[in-house]
């Protein structure tokens, strides 16, 4: 019988009622009395020298309050990068300035050149048309290898070249070279991890509101981590101390990574509001989002896999070009390095793993973390090259994986991380059962009888989640700690507010977090509310990304609740005239062990706030505790996915006929929400594999800047319900956090792209066809061309 409350139950989400009735409070629903509106005039060229911006005519237009250009930000800080990478020669990465509004040059289509603040958005837009821009177009560079040539245009004139860093990690070159020289077989693949746009359905919004009364600024913004924005914007850009700056991220309509970063528009609205002493609001249009939200992925990789005569993996070597775009977004530099290189061992005991990454500046929108962030790129390469090796060697791809699985834990990889626990055989077994491997030949024959090609693809993956141990990431160049914090505030009548640093933008924290506290205290979940998303209400927090909310912030909440229980037991002991050590808490009752003496939760909480009969000499009144939790390791969710596709050889169209996932997330607090996270991740992964592509022409013009050009997955692109199963029954609990949880937010997006591509290639190596590789998105045109040579 499934549980109906507490840990392991799936109560209906409490946040749903407001979203289902139109009562959600998203940033664009917030209006401040007397607010002005800003419209950003953005560069329509990829690269150009700003000779002159004449705003004089525009400034006289009706309703215009003030027009800002880069000159207004001279002396103000630029947007900071949060992670410094040291290159393979020991030098710091190149870190060009990233002004709020362009100064001197424009470097990508969408780079903001001027900001027009007016009484209405319409007036601001009209005035923008009256600005006279003299921008001299310069040759742009989009292609990464081209950007590294000596005669390439320079994205930043003050840098010697377009190379941000040349990074090497893992096994040393001599050992790696030796392993390849001794190999019985080497498989090499060159592949592209296509540039994507995260596309949360809510476009970004920022409202800056300055109060002259107390010299305080409030920023309402669509953020996954309001405290991070407060710190970055306050300390590095605008020079506003934290106590004079409040950042509020109310209901946020999806993030997927792209709302982690500190953006120019947030800093602008805060800055401009102080300048004009009036609130300033910006709402992104979708096309603006395509050219100003940080993009994701965009790696070009050569991967080599060495095997011995018994098909044991002996070495992996990768060489990747990672696109940074025109500027360094907040966490951009960590994605192709520490979030990618550390996962290159995958689920396999390969003794030598070497990762080489060149990060490159181009005249494109900055690239940063998108769901999975580095881990999908690592998984895609590794799982594609293993499949290709199996094909070249004529062995079963599942057997080849099983033979090389890591099976003993903890396991230290050649790429710095220590997997605490896992069971890759169990998820593989589960996946084989769910996909019905034995029935595949009959299904293929049935498809072939209809003139279709059918393929089965599998994929195993590992992630590093629960980001992250602060001392470790500090050594690796992070300019922040990655702990989290929670305050449990018990009120006099026993109800509880839990202030958490995690931010919910679809993950259901308001439902899940109370399940944990209710289980620990034995009280009803309805007595507990979660408060998040407002720096003036919560102690501190690094926010939600990297599948970290429960693993890190949830652990802080557990620690704070433990402190509450300890203090409550002291109070109960006093009330019951018993030793604190003899007090037991069960079902919301404190009792003296072995007696029938007890007091209720509410009696204890009331005593804490009305301390008439209370041990005031020993403890303080009140019942509120805060804990900060810094994880001692990453968590390592892992899984095995399988997919069956049908390919129409006449048209190249790929249809997903069956898709199953077997994940190991450790302990699961709310199965319904976990499954929902996997569904969403898989849809994004299938989108990457089959549909989505952010495309530039050679001049740096963005070709996919609306939903008419960028193919988002829709309901009929995804597998039907009877052919789709997500499973999380294989559970090896995390060994180092109190809940034993690993995180589930990114798994689907990491696990699914190679699964789909491997399935397509399996189909394209049947029926007399022989295709070695195909790049994502696997569009009908690409499939047709591959079949027809």
């Amino acid at each position: 019988m499934p549980k109906d409350h507490g840990i392991g139950a799936s109560p209906k989400r409490r946040e749903d009622v407001r979203f289902l009735t139109g009562a959600g409070n998203y940033t664009d629903d917030i209006n401040v009395h007397g607010q002005a509106y800003v419209y950003f005039l953005r560069s329509d060229m990829a690269h150009g020298k700003i000779n002159k911006i004449d705003t004089s005519a525009a400034a006289d237009m009706p309703g215009v309050v003030r027009i800002f250009t880069g000159a207004d930000f001279e002396g103000v800080g630029g947007l900071p990068c949060g992670w410094e990478i040291t290159d393979k020669n020991g030098a710091a990465m190149k870190e060009p300035a990233h002004p709020v509004l362009a100064i001197g040059k424009v470097r990508h289509v969408g780079d903001p050149v001027a900001a027009i603040v007016a009484d209405s958005l319409e007036q601001a837009r009209d005035a923008a048309e009256a600005i006279e821009l003299d921008i001299e177009e310069l040759p742009a560079v989009v292609d990464m290898p081209r950007a590294l040539q000596a005669d390439s245009p320079l994205v930043h004139d003050d840098l010697a070249d377009n190379l941000c860093y040349d990074w090497q990690f893992g096994t040393d070159t001599e050992t790696t070279d030796k392993a390849f020289a001794a190999a019985a077989h080497v498989t090499t693949l060159e592949l592209v991890n296509n540039r994507l746009v995260a596309n949360p359905m809510e476009p970004r919004v920022a409202v800056g509101d300055y109060s002259r009364a107390n010299d305080e600024s409030t920023l309402y913004t669509t953020s996954q981590n309001p405290h991070v924005i407060r710190l970055l914007m306050g300390a590095f850009v605008l020079g506003i101390p934290e106590h004079k700056l409040r950042v509020v991220a109310p209901d946020v309509g999806g993030g997927f990574g792209t709302k982690i970063f500190h953006y120019a528009e947030e800093a602008f609205c805060t800055f401009a509001s102080r300048q004009i002493n009036r609130a300033v609001k910006w709402t992104s249009s979708r096309s603006e989002a395509f050219m100003s939200d940080a993009h994701g992925r965009d790696h070009v990789t050569k991967i080599e896999l060495a095997l011995d005569a018994d098909n044991n993996f002996t070495a992996v070597r990768t060489n990747t070009h990672a696109n940074m775009g025109a500027y360094l977004s907040t966490f951009s530099t960590s994605v192709p390095t520490w979030l990618h290189g550390t996962l290159m061992a995958g689920n396999y005991r390969t003794p030598a793993v070497q990762v080489n990454v060149k990060a490159v500046f181009t005249n494109t929108v900055p690239v940063d973390a998108y769901r999975g962030a580095g881990r999908p790129e690592a998984t895609f390469q590794l799982e594609r090259v293993i499949d290709q090796a199996a094909r070249e060697l004529g062995v079963d791809p599942i057997a080849l994986r099983r033979q090389n699985f890591i099976s003993e834990f903890p396991y230290e990889t050649p790429v710095a991380v220590v997997y605490d626990t896992g069971d890759y055989v169990a998820t593989m077994d589960k996946m084989e059962e769910l996909i019905d491997i034995a029935g595949f030949p009959a299904r293929r024959a049935e498809s072939e009888a209809r003139g279709m090609l059918r393929g089965l693809g599998v994929n195993c993956f590992i992630e590093a989640c629960g980001i992250a141990p602060s001392n470790l990431v500090g050594q690796l160049g992070a300019r922040a700690g990655l702990y989290d914090a929670a305050t449990v505030r018990v009120n006099a009548t026993g109800s509880i507010s839990v202030m958490v640093g995690a931010h919910s933008h679809g993950q259901g924290h308001e439902t899940v977090f109370p399940q944990v506290v209710a289980e620990m205290l034995g009280i009803d979940e309805s007595m507990i509310d979660i408060v998040h998303g407002d720096t003036s209400k919560i102690p501190f927090g690094m926010g939600t990304y990297g599948s970290r909310s429960l693993a890190v912030c949830g652990s802080a909440m557990v620690r704070a609740t433990e402190k509450i229980i300890n203090k409550a037991k002291k109070i109960a002991g006093h009330l019951l005239e018993a030793s604190e050590a003899d007090i037991e808490l069960k079902d919301g009752q404190f009792s003296v062990a072995g007696t029938d003496k007890s007091v209720a939760w509410g009696d204890v909480t009331l005593a804490a706030y009305v301390p008439h009969n209370y041990p005031l000499e020993d403890i303080e009144p009140g019942l509120e505790e805060t804990a900060f939790y810094d994880p001692s390791n990453f968590t390592y969710p892992a899984g095995a996915y399988a997919c069956e596709v049908e390919v129409d050889p006449e048209t190249g169209k790929v249809t997903i006929e069956k898709f199953v996932s077997a994940d190991d997330f450790g302990n699961v607090i709310n199965p319904m929400i976990v499954e929902g996270q996997v569904h969403g991740g898989i849809a994004q992964g299938i989108g990457q594999a089959l549909l989505e592509n952010c495309s530039y022409d050679e001049n740096g013009q963005l070709l996919s800047a609306s939903y008419m050009d960028y193919a988002m997955p829709r309901a009929d692109d995804l597998p039907h319900m009877s052919q789709y199963q997500v499973d999380h029954s294989c559970q090896t609990p995390c060994t180092h956090n109190p809940l034993g949880v690993k995180g589930c937010g990114e798994a689907g997006a990491i696990g699914s792209p190679p699964t789909v591509v491997n399935a397509v290639l399996d189909a394209l190596n049947s029926g007399g066809h022989n295709v070695a590789h195909i790049d994502m998105p696997v569009s009908p045109a690409r499939v047709w061309a591959a079949i027809n040579g």
Binding site: D16, N199, P200, G676
Partner: protein, 161 residues
Amino acid sequence: MAEVTMKVNGKAVTKSVKGNTLMTDFLRDELRLTGTHVGCDTSQCGACNIHVNGSLVKACTMFAAEADGAEVSTIEGQSAADGTLNVIQQAFQDHHGLQCGFCTPGMVMAAASLLKENPKPSEAEVRDYLEGNICRCTGYHNIVKAILAASGQDVSAIAAE
């Protein structure tokens, strides 16, 4: 400026609007009905779906002046006066058919239209009808399930996952 009169969620409304005021701006800014969302500006995503004279309409591509004399229904008018969710809303909650909630009003309005036209749709018909609605969170699985459940069809046989 032109004066428009319409019924919104059963209530008569008369306002002065400019000729180029979009229905989304009218609902959100003039009537403070902020449940109608703008997700794409190009009629692709369906977050702004409303009903006008019983038909499903993308409010981002309609002028408020065009709704003069119309009966308009938005997400705010879907639940009962006492706040009880309607069958579709309840099915979305029961089957976890929403995550961030931003596309949800448009999904609920589209589902209501579908079930009016086709009270017992097949799964394929539901997926086909949602061609004008984008959700980035759920992968649609639980949305489709919720709509089938709201139509009174038994979805318990579908794997709980």
